[in-house]
Amino acid sequence: MDFELDDEQTALRDAVRRLLASTYASIDGRRAATAKAPGWDEGMWGRLAEMGVLGLPFTEEDGGMGAGPVEVALVAEQLGRVLAPEPFAEAVVLACGLVAAAGSAEQKEHLLPGVVDGTTVAAFAHFEPGAAAGTPPRSVTATQDGDGWLLDGVKEPVLHGAQAGVLVVSARVDAGGTDRTGLFVVATDAAGLDRVDYPTYDGIRAARVTFASTPAAPLGAAGADASDVLALVTAHAQVALCHEAVGAMATALDLTTEYLRTRKQFGVPLKTFQALTFRAADMYVSLELARSMALWATLVLADGDPDAAVVAATRAVVQTSAAGRHIGQEAIQLHGGIGMTAEYAVGHYTTRLTAIDQLLGGRTAHLKALADHVGEYDVVDPLAV
């Protein structure tokens, strides 16, 4: 059991922090980057690629850096700390992670280099309108058409779906009366593909992506059920998002304590009021517990057992979701009205934490997943998962 970073990991974290500070030292950086297409800073994306960050989770054979979940977590936390809008967890860990995990050698060779060098961004079209978190694809279907496959249906929201150069799509495959989950790659100029772009409340871009007999290539072996690989890669992306949330929570707490120190009312600094400082103390408790859980989940991912990874990610989401709500809400409340303004930074942290929570699937769904199996073991042993 060891929570210490090695020298290379520390160097990576510090380098990413320095790089991000060049653009996102204040909330104005995020405002500027999200105000224009593609919704993040392309120069920053290129520099992250040069640093190797966009290839971190992939093997050297696939053109990546051969790093692991720990390195991914470090980067995600730094992005969260400054609310950098670059879609690292969504594009690199999730969308490309699926290509790396499920794609054929040829697909990987074709798709990954452009992503790793920053020239293309991948998106994963998975959420379906009205579908609960964590459910398999239903309304988007894949049907075989001679040697190829056709997709039909609507995916929404697809994060940066209109900006992506590579679309990975989950779809329901009818396999003789039973449903399977299939993963497909769709070219952005494919016939019958329609993408409608819009902003999300946290300032990034999403799209409604419609498929009408749209040709698609199965990711990996045609017809294979992709539920397990989807669950595992999703777990990796969820844990990365948890770290992004931890970074955002840490800054939200920093901003709040700074405000309590400097803001005066009734002639004294707000920190004079114990009713406020105790609430800040509880925010710290939530932050540290969430950080512990995210770190542990990262170590479980690195340990390699896929079933354990999915459960650990679920526990991390349960903890992060509660902490993000708590810290986000209190950060605004302790600031007062200024926390509600788009001008000031802290509200943006609450906004992003809310979006992360929704993207993670929320506490209730994940708690249910744990509750369904609670009778199957005596105690949770963090060292023997």
Binding site: F278, A280, A281, L289, V300, A302, K368, V379
Partner: protein
Amino acid sequence: MRLRLSEADAAFREEMRAFFTTQVPERIRSVVAERRELSKDDIVETQRILNAAGLAVPAWPAEWGGRGWTSLQKHIWHEEMQLANVPAPLAFNTSMVGPVIAAFGSQEQKERFLPATANIDIWWSQGFSEPDAGSDLASLRTAAVRDGDHYVVNGQKTWTTLGQYGDWIFTLVRTDPDAPKKQMGISFLLIDMTSPGLTVRPIKLIDGGQEVNEVFFEDVRVPVANLVGEENKGWTYAKFLLGNERVGVAPVGSTKSVLARAKQLAKDRLDDPFVAARFAELETELLALELTALRVVANSADGKPHPASSVLKLRGTQLQQAVTELLVDLAGPGGVASGADDTSAVPQWARVAAPRYLNYRKASIYGGSNEVQRQIIAGTILGL
């Protein structure tokens, strides 16, 4: 960063687990598992078994029985002990007065007290709190006035846990009422509880139990040789002691053990999604706490406490209490049959659920109340 224990630490864990589950009588461990009250003999017998095996005072200096373990090993020892429902060594002896005597006592005091303290030949009580000095401990008023080779002690201590078993009591007493700061006039004095003028009176608590006491001192004569360290430096030693008290203050293992037992007792009620969700939630919260404890342990190697350590007491007691609440809910109306004997049709666990719940309201009060912990977090960590 690495999930797994090193081979050596994993072997250590196995060794501890094997010892605690085979060398401490099942008769005693079942008392803990069933949340019944431990007798003095249960506690003494267990500590002597541990002491004989070198497992009672591993954190003490090697010369007095310490093992020179890493922080992680100490954590594993503590967790495995709790998971096996082994009564922990008496904290007053092993985590409080022992380390103070070892660090600040005279050679004569060390020789006289430490072996007996480790083996619980002396049962120590704690004489810190007073009726008007709770969280504000430094306003204590029990006075010790020098008279030749003795101090004459007058005053009152309270909340003295298990004081009815106490042979000796370690106290904070005011030796200089005129000191410029109230912290500066306090001394650390060891007092034989059979001394004339010392009276112990039980305080009955809301759970019906008698675990705490008041201790009165009327002209109690205490040899000057029983002063630990220097006169008027007692506050320094008390802070050292309270720092030790907070290590291992998160009762993770015992709370896990109670939660696991609650799950067995709940049986098919786990089919109720609300009940199952409560277990899932508590297990997850407890895991986050345990991991935070492990982070603190892993980072305490250089002797500097990790900032997150203050979270442990606060959250640890909240979860300890939450699990006692869960058992009250599982017990339902049958739980009021607390006064029935073992012929009762209501199972034993259900009969003790509410008294234990009531008893554990203490956890967020003692050892620095949770409000004091928030004060520490806000002040020393957040700079507020």
